[in-house]
Assembly symmetry: D2
Homo-oligomer: 135 residues x 4
């Protein structure tokens, strides 16, 4: 199992007229969280695409428990519980600055060959990065 | 059961470097779709809030089947299959301009009293709008 | 001179905690306005890019006079006062539903060859569309 | 004169199909930059609003020199050259990771009383924070 943590602040433009971080922005926050997790394993997602592998999102789920407000510093804990195969499941827990869990969610990403646009297995250079954590 | 249809175009700023409508933007598209559905029933969501009722989103789910590209005209079919009570489930089907289903999703919204910030039952002025469609 | 008009509604996710359409979203609204203007001249901006011509924005200016609120139906009047050469100036006036002018702005776009990434003159197939309006 | 520096990374959802950070997102980046600058002076912008003072943007200007790409780490240098009075001018210079200047811009913000919605002079608790830097 892999686990990582990233923090980010709610921007003014990300709030809505309820003074909550707009519900759609968590997709963006999750994207940042998983990119930062991959980075700690030595993989920039932009490199992945440069190497011909895209990872579009297959599904997205969010359960909202509490709102986040403007300027709140959020902590996102991202977990990968299963070694990547043809797809990869990222799970997220978002905490506010009082350490309260404010939402949980997940995204499933698939590996796609950039040229053929067809699904592929996770490339070896990618799975090798995580191999020791799934033994 | 209630069903409505709305169309919108993918904006340039809503695409990402894959040339796909960014996955997080569907939350925004779903928001437009449910607001337009309520409007056809004579209810502007802004009025709801002016009357002291907020409807934050409790959960969001999207299953992505195909990407949408810049400038594509999307059709979103929104359904409400159960009369609103303390919550309200909106289901979405998004079609591209070739009438292909490109994603499906749902959001559950809850009714909240604006002052107390506590959950309430759907107000009568609201449920009355839909009552004939759930008989 | 060329002049066109497009309307759009402020989305919930585009508001901020002041209950105003976030100031950064007008860049998006202007983008929609100029794409719709080109469309009335028979040119989809996506076709431009497919034909190898990109039109990145060189500058953006907005003067904010009044805020727009959630669900307001805005009218954007877009003008092009000079025939496109190596660049093209779009001017915008945004009106709220009470016909009040709420902001004015402009963007200058340049023509770029997609392959070489170098500036070019506006292609003939493009300038031909507007030629009769600048005589 | 006041000068501060903040860094941020271009998110995937902030790119467009040219693979550039969408031009409208710089308004968001500038917002982050000025909020971080105020924070180093001991003022969270959210506190300002809690104290009854709003600072809506009166104008926005951006000159784009070069694009930023996905995952680039940008540095924004924010300057305030004149003590705040009824308005406050923030100037921005954005640098990419190769230290190249990629755009410059400014925003003028005004001070508004939250209740009356009328312009006011910058409150004393605010100007006091900067007073030593403008002597």
């Amino acid at each position: 199992m892999i686990k990582g943590e990233t923090t980010l602040r709610v921007r003014y433009g990300e709030t809505d007229r309820m003074n909550y971080a707009y519900y759609g922005n968590y997709a963006l926050y999750y994207e940042v969280a998983r990119a930062e997790l991959l980075r700690t394993y030595g993989m920039d997602y932009s490199q992945m695409e440069d190497m011909g592998v895209m990872m579009p999102v297959m599904n997205l789920h969010v359960d909202f428990l509490k709102p986040a407000k403007y300027d709140e510093l959020l902590t996102i804990v991202t977990s990968i519980k299963k070694a990547p195969s043809v797809k990869m499941l990222f799970e997220y827990e978002v905490f506010n600055s009082q350490k309260e869990l404010i939402n949980t969610g997940y995204t499933t990403l698939v590996f796609i060959d950039k040229e053929s646009k067809r699904p592929i297995r996770a490339p070896k250079f990618f799975t090798d990065l995580f191999i020791k954590d799934f033994k």
